[in-house]
Symmetry: C2
Subunit: 217 residues, 2 copies
DNA sequence: CGTATTCACTAGTGGTCGCTACAAAAATGA
DNA sequence: TCATTTTTGTAGCGACCACTAGTGAATACG
């Protein structure tokens, strides 16, 4: 769905991409695309979509503007690719927790505990890019795109809870939608807290309290 | 603390400001300052500090740029005054709940219920200005100013809880700081949810769940 | 070698940003 | 009436925004 975006050359079949070896015609790219993308990711993560200017991006990615546009398309395409990359590299702990733990309750517990660690991890921006990077964004499509991701996350929590209700692991009168929204709001609140200076230990204490609402322990 | 800001003439003692009557020398102002401030408040509330341009402001306030600068100082001063006004007109329900209810638990319960209503009230932006309007803000002072307000709110929740612990209304082993941070995160999550489309009923259901963590009912 | 192809760099484009100089307009005080 | 004071609208300031035309450099192909 996201491959073949403007500016990215098609990787021809055969001839696997050797890192240092040149494969295509023309002058080879002088920078590592993945490294530049990671730098853009950190910038967008820390400052958000609008507050990160193309000039900021070319500085942290250490490339010229024409190189940026040739390799990633315009600012919005670059941001979309950054969001994709963020989801794969940093934002997947929640889905993994829900998928790998035996119950919804255990999945949410792990999700909240890992959020406390992830959102305060040293050496990178605090909080969640998906929650913050398109806040107050005048480009409506960008704001809407992250909003959909957030709501999709809550929907997947709700499905996981619903599955436990269906097979009896949770009481039949459980309000899966409300419990999922509660959990999502908790995650979002934790991300905001992390941005506002809360430590990992403080977020863990908060998560501990949040888990007390679940039926059964 | 915020009076006598640049651009605002000092109200001389005596001669109370009659609304229509002119009192000072010079050409009288052709717009109502409070009305213009309210328009700016709504714009900042909806779009945030950076995404609301001075051009946007002059349009919704229905005044020219020089009038804006003469009456309110620069964009940052106007925003600070808007935040002050927001706190007085829309953001005071939490403090009131904590002050007027007999226990911390009752105060927080009322705070969360009222947040569900306030953050989804029809005819005005959803969510909380203090939580969202300076997200991803490249003017560090503005971002920091709202951050301090958020953390001050949590601190006042903590003090209210601590008071109940001190006089025995809550168990002595209650972690007031964690419970306050939990409550603050809940409020912030609810505000984000309101921005993402949650209804008042959905937020009330969420608040109901959040209240289940409190010792005693 | 020459040619085709792709990239990098310089130097901009038009547009919007926050903000203001300037002079006409509208009030008061003498 | 005339001078003073303050607000108003026009018009535009320099700075930054996202973005790109155009030229030369660096590679592969033939």
């Amino acid at each position: 769905m996201h491959s073949m975006v403007s500016g990215e050359k098609s990787e021809r079949s055969g001839a696997p991409a050797r890192s240092g070896a040149a494969r295509t015609r023309g002058r080879p790219r002088s920078f590592d695309r993945a490294t530049a993308l990671e730098a853009a990711l950190l910038a967008f993560w820390e400052h958000g979509y609008e507050a990160t200017s193309v000039s900021d991006l070319t500085r942290v990615m250490d490339i010229g503007a024409p190189s940026l546009y040739a390799a990633f398309g315009d600012k919005r395409s670059l941001f979309e690719e950054v969001v994709q990359e963020y989801g794969a590299r940093y934002g997947s702990f929640g889905d993994r927790a829900l998928a790998e733990e035996p119950t919804a309750r255990a999945g949410v517990e792990r999700m909240l505990r890992e959020a406390a660690a992830e959102y305060t991890a040293p050496g990178r921006p605090h909080g969640c890019l998906v929650i913050h990077a398109a806040a107050n964004c005048s480009t409506a499509e960008v704001e809407e795109s992250l909003r959909e991701r957030r709501n999709a996350n809550i929907a997947s929590i709700e499905r996981r809870i619903g599955a436990d209700v269906a097979d009896g692991a949770l009481p039949p009168d459980t309000d899966a939608a409300a419990l999922a929204r509660y959990t999502g709001a908790m995650i979002q609140g934790m991300s905001q807290q992390a941005r506002d200076g809360a430590t990992r230990a403080e977020l863990e204490a908060l998560a501990e309290i949040a888990l007390a609402v679940w039926p059964r322990g």
